[in-house]
Amino acid sequence: MERVANIMSWRILSNLIPVTLAILGVLVANFPVSFLGGHVAPPLLGFMPLYFWAIVRPDLMTPFWAFFLGVLEDLLSGGPPGVWAASFLAAYALIDRQRDMLAGLSGVGALVGFAIAALTACISAYAIVSILNWTLLPLAPVMGELAVTVILYTFAVFILGGIHRRLVGPLRSDF
Protein backbone atom coordinates (compact mmCIF):
# COMPACT_ATOMS: atom_id res chain seq x y z
CA MET A 1 0.00 0.00 0.00
CA GLU A 2 2.86 2.35 0.91
CA ARG A 3 4.58 1.48 -2.34
CA VAL A 4 1.47 2.43 -4.31
CA ALA A 5 1.28 5.74 -2.42
CA ASN A 6 4.92 6.45 -3.21
CA ILE A 7 4.39 5.69 -6.88
CA MET A 8 1.32 7.92 -6.96
CA SER A 9 3.07 10.84 -5.27
CA TRP A 10 6.05 10.49 -7.62
CA ARG A 11 3.63 10.39 -10.54
CA ILE A 12 2.00 13.64 -9.40
CA LEU A 13 5.37 15.30 -8.88
CA SER A 14 6.66 14.19 -12.28
CA ASN A 15 3.48 15.49 -13.90
CA LEU A 16 4.22 18.93 -12.49
CA ILE A 17 7.71 19.01 -14.03
CA PRO A 18 6.71 20.41 -17.47
CA VAL A 19 4.72 23.30 -16.04
CA THR A 20 7.34 24.00 -13.37
CA LEU A 21 10.06 24.16 -16.01
CA ALA A 22 7.96 26.49 -18.16
CA ILE A 23 7.29 28.80 -15.19
CA LEU A 24 11.01 28.78 -14.36
CA GLY A 25 11.74 29.62 -17.99
CA VAL A 26 9.42 32.64 -17.89
CA LEU A 27 10.97 33.81 -14.60
CA VAL A 28 14.55 33.49 -15.85
CA ALA A 29 13.84 35.12 -19.22
CA ASN A 30 12.16 38.07 -17.54
CA PHE A 31 14.78 38.58 -14.85
CA PRO A 32 15.65 42.21 -15.61
CA VAL A 33 19.40 41.64 -15.78
CA SER A 34 20.99 41.17 -19.16
CA PHE A 35 23.89 38.79 -19.60
CA LEU A 36 24.95 40.49 -22.83
CA GLY A 37 24.54 44.15 -22.00
CA GLY A 38 20.99 44.33 -23.36
CA HIS A 39 22.16 43.99 -26.98
CA VAL A 40 20.40 40.66 -27.48
CA ALA A 41 16.71 40.24 -26.76
CA PRO A 42 15.91 37.67 -24.07
CA PRO A 43 14.60 34.38 -25.47
CA LEU A 44 11.12 33.01 -24.84
CA LEU A 45 12.39 30.34 -22.43
CA GLY A 46 8.92 29.58 -21.16
CA PHE A 47 7.72 28.75 -24.65
CA MET A 48 10.20 25.88 -25.08
CA PRO A 49 8.69 23.51 -22.47
CA LEU A 50 5.25 24.67 -23.59
CA TYR A 51 5.92 23.58 -27.18
CA PHE A 52 7.74 20.38 -26.25
CA TRP A 53 5.15 18.96 -23.87
CA ALA A 54 2.19 20.33 -25.84
CA ILE A 55 3.33 17.86 -28.49
CA VAL A 56 4.41 14.85 -26.46
CA ARG A 57 2.20 15.17 -23.35
CA PRO A 58 -0.69 17.54 -24.10
CA ASP A 59 -2.46 16.19 -21.02
CA LEU A 60 0.25 17.88 -18.92
CA MET A 61 0.54 21.05 -21.01
CA THR A 62 -3.08 22.03 -21.54
CA PRO A 63 -4.40 25.28 -23.11
CA PHE A 64 -4.93 26.58 -19.60
CA TRP A 65 -1.19 26.38 -18.92
CA ALA A 66 -0.46 28.14 -22.22
CA PHE A 67 -2.78 30.92 -21.07
CA PHE A 68 -1.27 30.98 -17.58
CA LEU A 69 2.31 31.14 -18.90
CA GLY A 70 1.32 33.96 -21.25
CA VAL A 71 -0.24 35.95 -18.41
CA LEU A 72 2.92 35.41 -16.34
CA GLU A 73 5.04 36.58 -19.28
CA ASP A 74 2.82 39.67 -19.60
CA LEU A 75 3.05 40.41 -15.90
CA LEU A 76 6.81 40.12 -15.68
CA SER A 77 7.80 41.60 -19.03
CA GLY A 78 6.03 44.87 -18.30
CA GLY A 79 4.17 44.92 -21.61
CA PRO A 80 0.45 45.35 -22.14
CA PRO A 81 -1.53 42.60 -20.37
CA GLY A 82 -3.00 39.74 -22.37
CA VAL A 83 -0.65 40.05 -25.35
CA TRP A 84 1.51 37.00 -24.68
CA ALA A 85 -1.47 35.10 -23.25
CA ALA A 86 -3.25 35.44 -26.59
CA SER A 87 -0.03 34.78 -28.53
CA PHE A 88 0.82 31.58 -26.65
CA LEU A 89 -2.75 30.41 -27.20
CA ALA A 90 -2.44 31.13 -30.93
CA ALA A 91 0.72 29.02 -31.05
CA TYR A 92 -0.96 26.31 -28.97
CA ALA A 93 -3.87 26.22 -31.43
CA LEU A 94 -1.38 25.61 -34.24
CA ILE A 95 0.38 22.87 -32.26
CA ASP A 96 -2.98 21.30 -31.39
CA ARG A 97 -4.04 21.15 -35.03
CA GLN A 98 -0.69 19.96 -36.40
CA ARG A 99 0.38 17.71 -33.52
CA ASP A 100 0.74 14.55 -35.65
CA MET A 101 2.92 16.33 -38.17
CA LEU A 102 5.05 18.15 -35.56
CA ALA A 103 5.57 15.00 -33.48
CA GLY A 104 6.79 13.15 -36.56
CA LEU A 105 9.54 15.68 -37.33
CA SER A 106 13.15 14.97 -36.50
CA GLY A 107 16.52 16.69 -36.85
CA VAL A 108 16.37 20.05 -38.60
CA GLY A 109 12.68 19.42 -39.30
CA ALA A 110 11.93 19.43 -35.56
CA LEU A 111 13.75 22.74 -35.26
CA VAL A 112 11.75 24.16 -38.18
CA GLY A 113 8.54 22.97 -36.48
CA PHE A 114 9.47 24.82 -33.31
CA ALA A 115 10.46 27.90 -35.33
CA ILE A 116 7.03 27.96 -37.01
CA ALA A 117 5.25 27.71 -33.65
CA ALA A 118 7.48 30.40 -32.11
CA LEU A 119 6.95 32.57 -35.20
CA THR A 120 3.19 32.24 -34.73
CA ALA A 121 3.53 33.44 -31.12
CA CYS A 122 5.86 36.32 -32.02
CA ILE A 123 3.84 37.51 -35.01
CA SER A 124 0.62 37.34 -32.96
CA ALA A 125 2.21 39.46 -30.22
CA TYR A 126 3.56 41.88 -32.83
CA ALA A 127 0.16 42.21 -34.49
CA ILE A 128 -1.70 42.74 -31.20
CA VAL A 129 0.73 45.42 -29.94
CA SER A 130 0.69 47.12 -33.34
CA ILE A 131 -3.10 47.24 -33.26
CA LEU A 132 -3.13 48.47 -29.64
CA ASN A 133 -0.73 51.29 -30.53
CA TRP A 134 -2.26 51.78 -33.97
CA THR A 135 1.15 51.95 -35.60
CA LEU A 136 3.42 49.55 -37.44
CA LEU A 137 6.20 48.65 -35.01
CA PRO A 138 9.76 47.86 -36.10
CA LEU A 139 9.93 44.16 -36.81
CA ALA A 140 13.63 43.70 -36.00
CA PRO A 141 13.32 43.36 -32.17
CA VAL A 142 10.66 40.62 -32.49
CA MET A 143 12.67 38.78 -35.12
CA GLY A 144 15.74 39.05 -32.87
CA GLU A 145 13.79 37.50 -30.01
CA LEU A 146 12.57 34.74 -32.33
CA ALA A 147 16.09 34.03 -33.61
CA VAL A 148 17.56 33.80 -30.10
CA THR A 149 14.70 31.54 -28.99
CA VAL A 150 15.13 29.15 -31.94
CA ILE A 151 18.92 29.00 -31.55
CA LEU A 152 18.61 28.22 -27.84
CA TYR A 153 15.96 25.56 -28.51
CA THR A 154 18.57 23.65 -30.51
CA PHE A 155 20.32 22.94 -27.19
CA ALA A 156 17.28 23.03 -24.93
CA VAL A 157 15.51 20.24 -26.82
CA PHE A 158 18.16 17.73 -25.69
CA ILE A 159 17.69 18.75 -22.04
CA LEU A 160 13.89 18.65 -22.35
CA GLY A 161 14.07 15.26 -24.10
CA GLY A 162 16.31 13.87 -21.34
CA ILE A 163 13.98 15.16 -18.62
CA HIS A 164 10.99 13.70 -20.42
CA ARG A 165 12.58 10.26 -20.79
CA ARG A 166 13.98 10.05 -17.25
CA LEU A 167 11.39 11.88 -15.15
CA VAL A 168 8.11 12.54 -16.93
CA GLY A 169 7.63 9.62 -19.30
CA PRO A 170 4.82 8.83 -21.72
CA LEU A 171 1.15 8.74 -20.83
CA ARG A 172 0.13 5.51 -19.05
CA SER A 173 -2.50 4.78 -21.73
CA ASP A 174 0.22 4.93 -24.41
CA PHE A 175 1.94 1.79 -23.16
Binding site: V33, P81, R97, P138
Partner: protein, 340 residues
Protein backbone atom coordinates in the same frame (compact mmCIF):
# COMPACT_ATOMS: atom_id res chain seq x y z
CA UNK B 1 16.32 16.12 -31.53
CA UNK B 2 14.14 13.42 -32.97
CA UNK B 3 10.48 13.74 -32.20
CA UNK B 4 9.58 10.68 -34.22
CA UNK B 5 9.53 8.31 -31.27
CA UNK B 6 7.18 10.43 -29.10
CA UNK B 7 3.77 8.94 -28.50
CA UNK B 8 0.87 11.32 -28.42
CA UNK B 9 -1.15 11.47 -25.22
CA UNK B 10 -4.38 12.77 -26.74
CA UNK B 11 -6.13 12.77 -30.07
CA UNK B 12 -5.66 15.79 -32.31
CA UNK B 13 -7.94 18.76 -31.83
CA UNK B 14 -9.09 17.77 -28.34
CA UNK B 15 -8.45 21.21 -26.91
CA UNK B 16 -10.72 23.20 -29.23
CA UNK B 17 -13.35 24.30 -26.72
CA UNK B 18 -10.99 25.38 -23.90
CA UNK B 19 -8.86 27.13 -26.51
CA UNK B 20 -11.78 29.21 -27.72
CA UNK B 21 -12.81 30.09 -24.16
CA UNK B 22 -9.28 30.99 -23.13
CA UNK B 23 -8.75 33.02 -26.30
CA UNK B 24 -11.88 35.02 -25.43
CA UNK B 25 -10.48 35.49 -21.91
CA UNK B 26 -7.13 36.69 -23.33
CA UNK B 27 -8.89 39.21 -25.56
CA UNK B 28 -10.92 40.40 -22.57
CA UNK B 29 -7.66 40.77 -20.64
CA UNK B 30 -6.18 42.89 -23.44
CA UNK B 31 -9.23 45.16 -23.43
CA UNK B 32 -9.30 45.42 -19.63
CA UNK B 33 -5.57 46.16 -19.63
CA UNK B 34 -6.10 48.91 -22.17
CA UNK B 35 -8.85 50.48 -20.07
CA UNK B 36 -7.52 49.82 -16.55
CA UNK B 37 -3.75 49.39 -16.80
CA UNK B 38 -3.19 50.23 -13.13
CA UNK B 39 -4.48 46.77 -12.08
CA UNK B 40 -1.51 45.09 -13.74
CA UNK B 41 0.85 47.90 -12.80
CA UNK B 42 0.19 47.42 -9.08
CA UNK B 43 0.97 43.71 -9.39
CA UNK B 44 4.18 44.50 -11.29
CA UNK B 45 5.29 47.01 -8.67
CA UNK B 46 4.71 44.46 -5.91
CA UNK B 47 6.66 41.77 -7.78
CA UNK B 48 9.57 44.17 -8.34
CA UNK B 49 9.60 45.27 -4.69
CA UNK B 50 9.68 41.63 -3.67
CA UNK B 51 12.49 40.79 -6.12
CA UNK B 52 14.58 43.92 -5.47
CA UNK B 53 17.06 42.32 -3.00
CA UNK B 54 17.76 39.48 -5.46
CA UNK B 55 18.20 41.98 -8.29
CA UNK B 56 20.72 44.00 -6.29
CA UNK B 57 22.72 40.87 -5.47
CA UNK B 58 22.84 39.73 -9.10
CA UNK B 59 23.43 43.20 -10.54
CA UNK B 60 26.93 43.81 -9.15
CA UNK B 61 28.81 40.85 -10.68
CA UNK B 62 26.88 41.07 -13.94
CA UNK B 63 27.49 44.77 -14.44
CA UNK B 64 31.18 44.12 -13.76
CA UNK B 65 31.14 41.34 -16.35
CA UNK B 66 29.35 43.57 -18.87
CA UNK B 67 31.88 46.36 -18.30
CA UNK B 68 34.75 43.91 -18.73
CA UNK B 69 33.28 42.51 -21.94
CA UNK B 70 32.77 46.00 -23.32
CA UNK B 71 36.32 47.01 -22.44
CA UNK B 72 38.02 44.02 -24.11
CA UNK B 73 37.93 45.70 -27.50
CA UNK B 74 38.91 49.10 -26.08
CA UNK B 75 42.35 47.88 -25.01
CA UNK B 76 43.55 48.00 -28.59
CA UNK B 77 42.56 51.62 -29.17
CA UNK B 78 43.62 53.23 -25.90
CA UNK B 79 46.26 55.47 -27.51
CA UNK B 80 43.96 56.86 -30.19
CA UNK B 81 41.20 57.29 -27.65
CA UNK B 82 43.52 59.19 -25.32
CA UNK B 83 44.54 61.66 -28.03
CA UNK B 84 40.93 62.20 -28.98
CA UNK B 85 39.91 62.78 -25.36
CA UNK B 86 42.71 65.30 -24.79
CA UNK B 87 41.60 67.27 -27.81
CA UNK B 88 37.97 67.12 -26.72
CA UNK B 89 38.91 68.16 -23.20
CA UNK B 90 40.71 71.28 -24.46
CA UNK B 91 37.69 72.23 -26.55
CA UNK B 92 35.30 71.65 -23.65
CA UNK B 93 37.40 73.89 -21.37
CA UNK B 94 36.92 76.73 -23.84
CA UNK B 95 33.18 76.07 -23.86
CA UNK B 96 33.13 75.96 -20.06
CA UNK B 97 34.68 79.45 -19.90
CA UNK B 98 32.08 80.70 -22.37
CA UNK B 99 29.27 79.09 -20.38
CA UNK B 100 30.44 80.65 -17.10
CA UNK B 101 30.59 84.12 -18.68
CA UNK B 102 27.16 83.72 -20.31
CA UNK B 103 25.63 82.34 -17.10
CA UNK B 104 26.79 85.41 -15.19
CA UNK B 105 25.42 87.67 -17.89
CA UNK B 106 22.00 85.92 -17.89
CA UNK B 107 21.79 86.28 -14.10
CA UNK B 108 22.57 90.01 -14.35
CA UNK B 109 19.90 90.45 -17.03
CA UNK B 110 17.37 88.54 -14.95
CA UNK B 111 18.13 90.82 -12.02
CA UNK B 112 17.72 93.94 -14.17
CA UNK B 113 14.44 92.69 -15.65
CA UNK B 114 13.08 91.45 -12.31
CA UNK B 115 12.59 88.11 -14.05
CA UNK B 116 11.10 85.17 -12.18
CA UNK B 117 14.04 82.98 -11.15
CA UNK B 118 14.18 79.45 -12.52
CA UNK B 119 12.52 76.93 -10.22
CA UNK B 120 14.97 74.96 -8.11
CA UNK B 121 15.10 71.24 -8.69
CA UNK B 122 15.54 68.60 -6.06
CA UNK B 123 16.55 65.09 -7.03
CA UNK B 124 16.78 61.59 -5.67
CA UNK B 125 19.81 59.52 -6.57
CA UNK B 126 19.14 55.92 -7.49
CA UNK B 127 20.94 52.88 -8.83
CA UNK B 128 19.82 50.88 -11.84
CA UNK B 129 19.07 47.37 -10.56
CA UNK B 130 17.45 45.97 -13.68
CA UNK B 131 17.03 46.50 -17.39
CA UNK B 132 14.48 45.05 -19.71
CA UNK B 133 14.97 45.26 -23.43
CA UNK B 134 11.86 43.47 -24.64
CA UNK B 135 10.53 43.83 -28.19
CA UNK B 136 7.57 45.90 -27.00
CA UNK B 137 8.96 47.61 -23.91
CA UNK B 138 12.25 49.24 -23.09
CA UNK B 139 12.55 49.94 -19.42
CA UNK B 140 14.88 49.98 -16.43
CA UNK B 141 14.25 49.39 -12.75
CA UNK B 142 15.65 51.71 -10.07
CA UNK B 143 16.18 51.05 -6.36
CA UNK B 144 14.17 54.09 -5.23
CA UNK B 145 10.41 54.21 -4.86
CA UNK B 146 7.57 55.86 -2.96
CA UNK B 147 9.54 55.67 0.29
CA UNK B 148 12.17 57.96 -1.25
CA UNK B 149 9.57 60.36 -2.64
CA UNK B 150 9.63 59.11 -6.22
CA UNK B 151 6.44 59.74 -8.18
CA UNK B 152 5.27 58.74 -11.67
CA UNK B 153 6.08 61.31 -14.34
CA UNK B 154 9.40 62.47 -12.88
CA UNK B 155 12.37 62.75 -15.22
CA UNK B 156 15.33 60.39 -14.92
CA UNK B 157 18.71 61.76 -15.96
CA UNK B 158 22.31 60.67 -15.84
CA UNK B 159 25.46 62.78 -16.15
CA UNK B 160 24.96 63.15 -19.92
CA UNK B 161 21.27 63.81 -20.30
CA UNK B 162 17.72 62.58 -19.91
CA UNK B 163 17.10 58.83 -20.00
CA UNK B 164 13.36 58.58 -19.48
CA UNK B 165 10.47 59.09 -17.08
CA UNK B 166 9.18 57.19 -14.07
CA UNK B 167 5.97 55.39 -14.99
CA UNK B 168 5.44 53.00 -12.12
CA UNK B 169 6.48 53.20 -8.47
CA UNK B 170 6.59 50.51 -5.84
CA UNK B 171 7.54 51.09 -2.21
CA UNK B 172 11.28 50.76 -2.84
CA UNK B 173 11.58 50.36 -6.60
CA UNK B 174 10.41 52.24 -9.66
CA UNK B 175 10.15 51.51 -13.37
CA UNK B 176 11.46 53.94 -15.96
CA UNK B 177 10.00 54.22 -19.42
CA UNK B 178 12.97 55.00 -21.66
CA UNK B 179 12.88 57.79 -24.23
CA UNK B 180 13.31 55.15 -26.93
CA UNK B 181 10.21 53.22 -25.83
CA UNK B 182 7.19 53.10 -28.08
CA UNK B 183 4.98 54.76 -25.46
CA UNK B 184 7.32 57.65 -24.71
CA UNK B 185 6.20 61.16 -25.74
CA UNK B 186 8.15 64.18 -24.50
CA UNK B 187 7.60 67.83 -25.47
CA UNK B 188 10.95 69.25 -26.58
CA UNK B 189 12.54 72.48 -27.77
CA UNK B 190 15.08 72.47 -30.57
CA UNK B 191 17.84 75.06 -30.34
CA UNK B 192 18.70 77.35 -32.03
CA UNK B 193 15.36 78.67 -33.14
CA UNK B 194 13.28 77.64 -30.12
CA UNK B 195 11.33 75.19 -32.29
CA UNK B 196 8.69 73.20 -30.42
CA UNK B 197 8.21 69.51 -31.17
CA UNK B 198 7.17 66.21 -29.66
CA UNK B 199 9.83 63.52 -29.36
CA UNK B 200 8.29 60.09 -29.87
CA UNK B 201 10.00 56.76 -29.18
CA UNK B 202 9.48 53.92 -31.64
CA UNK B 203 11.59 51.16 -30.05
CA UNK B 204 14.63 52.13 -32.11
CA UNK B 205 17.72 53.73 -30.59
CA UNK B 206 16.90 57.15 -32.12
CA UNK B 207 13.42 58.59 -31.33
CA UNK B 208 11.53 60.51 -33.98
CA UNK B 209 10.57 64.20 -34.00
CA UNK B 210 7.01 65.36 -34.63
CA UNK B 211 7.23 69.07 -35.36
CA UNK B 212 4.35 71.19 -34.13
CA UNK B 213 4.80 73.70 -36.93
CA UNK B 214 5.28 72.85 -40.60
CA UNK B 215 7.21 76.01 -41.53
CA UNK B 216 10.33 75.07 -39.64
CA UNK B 217 13.76 74.23 -40.98
CA UNK B 218 15.87 71.94 -38.87
CA UNK B 219 19.40 70.93 -39.61
CA UNK B 220 21.48 68.04 -38.32
CA UNK B 221 23.41 69.01 -35.23
CA UNK B 222 20.67 71.11 -33.62
CA UNK B 223 20.37 70.56 -29.88
CA UNK B 224 17.23 69.08 -28.32
CA UNK B 225 16.20 69.89 -24.74
CA UNK B 226 12.98 69.43 -22.78
CA UNK B 227 10.52 72.27 -23.30
CA UNK B 228 8.77 71.95 -19.95
CA UNK B 229 5.34 72.14 -21.60
CA UNK B 230 2.71 70.53 -19.44
CA UNK B 231 4.60 71.29 -16.23
CA UNK B 232 5.68 67.69 -15.59
CA UNK B 233 9.28 67.95 -16.74
CA UNK B 234 11.66 70.82 -16.06
CA UNK B 235 12.61 72.86 -19.13
CA UNK B 236 16.15 72.70 -20.48
CA UNK B 237 17.11 69.10 -19.67
CA UNK B 238 19.61 67.97 -22.31
CA UNK B 239 18.27 65.17 -24.53
CA UNK B 240 20.25 64.85 -27.73
CA UNK B 241 21.14 66.03 -31.21
CA UNK B 242 19.05 66.19 -34.38
CA UNK B 243 20.07 63.89 -37.24
CA UNK B 244 18.45 63.41 -40.63
CA UNK B 245 16.41 60.23 -41.03
CA UNK B 246 17.26 58.43 -44.28
CA UNK B 247 13.58 57.51 -44.55
CA UNK B 248 12.59 61.18 -44.32
CA UNK B 249 12.14 63.58 -41.43
CA UNK B 250 14.41 63.88 -38.44
CA UNK B 251 15.46 61.73 -35.51
CA UNK B 252 17.29 62.41 -32.27
CA UNK B 253 20.55 60.78 -31.25
CA UNK B 254 20.35 60.66 -27.47
CA UNK B 255 23.18 61.94 -25.30
CA UNK B 256 22.53 59.46 -22.48
CA UNK B 257 23.21 55.77 -22.98
CA UNK B 258 20.61 53.89 -20.99
CA UNK B 259 22.41 50.59 -21.57
CA UNK B 260 25.46 51.71 -19.60
CA UNK B 261 23.96 54.03 -16.98
CA UNK B 262 24.52 52.79 -13.43
CA UNK B 263 23.65 55.77 -11.20
CA UNK B 264 20.87 58.15 -12.15
CA UNK B 265 19.04 61.14 -10.71
CA UNK B 266 15.28 61.29 -10.46
CA UNK B 267 14.39 64.95 -10.83
CA UNK B 268 11.55 66.25 -8.70
CA UNK B 269 9.98 69.17 -10.47
CA UNK B 270 6.76 70.78 -9.44
CA UNK B 271 5.90 74.00 -11.16
CA UNK B 272 3.80 76.22 -8.97
CA UNK B 273 0.36 76.78 -10.43
CA UNK B 274 0.34 80.23 -11.95
CA UNK B 275 -2.67 82.29 -10.89
CA UNK B 276 -4.42 84.02 -13.81
CA UNK B 277 -4.21 87.82 -13.67
CA UNK B 278 -7.36 89.47 -12.32
CA UNK B 279 -9.69 90.84 -14.99
CA UNK B 280 -10.98 94.33 -14.38
CA UNK B 281 -13.97 95.83 -16.14
CA UNK B 282 -11.82 98.55 -17.72
CA UNK B 283 -9.73 96.00 -19.61
CA UNK B 284 -12.68 94.54 -21.48
CA UNK B 285 -12.90 95.69 -25.12
CA UNK B 286 -16.51 96.89 -24.87
CA UNK B 287 -15.87 98.99 -21.76
CA UNK B 288 -12.59 100.29 -23.11
CA UNK B 289 -14.42 101.49 -26.24
CA UNK B 290 -16.83 103.49 -24.09
CA UNK B 291 -19.81 101.16 -24.63
CA UNK B 292 -22.03 99.96 -21.79
CA UNK B 293 -21.44 96.33 -20.79
CA UNK B 294 -23.80 93.90 -22.46
CA UNK B 295 -26.75 92.97 -20.27
CA UNK B 296 -27.30 89.25 -19.79
CA UNK B 297 -30.25 87.91 -21.83
CA UNK B 298 -33.43 87.06 -19.94
CA UNK B 299 -33.31 83.52 -18.62
CA UNK B 300 -35.37 81.04 -20.55
CA UNK B 301 -37.49 78.48 -18.69
CA UNK B 302 -35.84 75.07 -18.51
CA UNK B 303 -36.89 72.72 -21.32
CA UNK B 304 -39.17 70.34 -19.48
CA UNK B 305 -41.03 69.20 -22.58
CA UNK B 306 -38.16 66.93 -23.68
CA UNK B 307 -38.01 65.09 -20.36
CA UNK B 308 -39.82 61.78 -20.04
CA UNK B 309 -42.97 61.77 -17.91
CA UNK B 310 -42.37 61.31 -14.20
CA UNK B 311 -38.95 62.98 -14.16
CA UNK B 312 -38.70 66.45 -12.73
CA UNK B 313 -35.88 68.77 -13.82
CA UNK B 314 -33.13 69.56 -11.26
CA UNK B 315 -33.48 72.87 -9.43
CA UNK B 316 -31.40 75.70 -10.88
CA UNK B 317 -29.35 77.80 -8.52
CA UNK B 318 -28.41 80.49 -11.07
CA UNK B 319 -30.18 81.58 -14.22
CA UNK B 320 -28.51 80.04 -17.25
CA UNK B 321 -26.90 82.65 -19.48
CA UNK B 322 -25.86 81.88 -23.00
CA UNK B 323 -23.44 84.46 -24.41
CA UNK B 324 -24.49 85.60 -27.83
CA UNK B 325 -21.87 85.67 -30.58
CA UNK B 326 -20.10 89.01 -30.51
CA UNK B 327 -21.34 89.96 -27.05
CA UNK B 328 -18.83 90.73 -24.30
CA UNK B 329 -18.19 87.88 -21.87
CA UNK B 330 -19.64 88.20 -18.38
CA UNK B 331 -17.45 90.27 -16.07
CA UNK B 332 -16.03 88.49 -13.05
CA UNK B 333 -16.19 90.73 -10.03
CA UNK B 334 -13.28 90.74 -7.58
CA UNK B 335 -15.44 88.96 -5.04
CA UNK B 336 -16.11 86.10 -7.47
CA UNK B 337 -12.54 85.58 -8.58
CA UNK B 338 -11.19 85.91 -5.09
CA UNK B 339 -8.07 87.62 -6.35
CA UNK B 340 -8.72 90.98 -4.83
Amino acid sequence: MANGSWKLGRPRGGAQLPLVLLAALAIALILIGKAQSNLFDRARANVTDWAAPALEVVRAPLSGLNRWMASVGDVFKVYQENLKLKEENARLRQWQNTAVVLDGRVKRYQLLLHAVPDPTLSSVMAQVIGRSNRPFLQTMILDAGKAQGVKPGQAVIDARGMIGRIFLTGDHTSWVILLTDLNSRVPVTIEPGNTQAIMAGDNTSAPTLDLLSQNVRLKPGDQVVTSGDGGLLPPGLAIGTVVADPAGGFRIVLLADSASSEDVNIVDFKLKAEAPPPVSANELPATAAGLPPAAPPPSAPPPTAALPPGITPPPQTKPATTPKPGAAPPVATPDETGNE
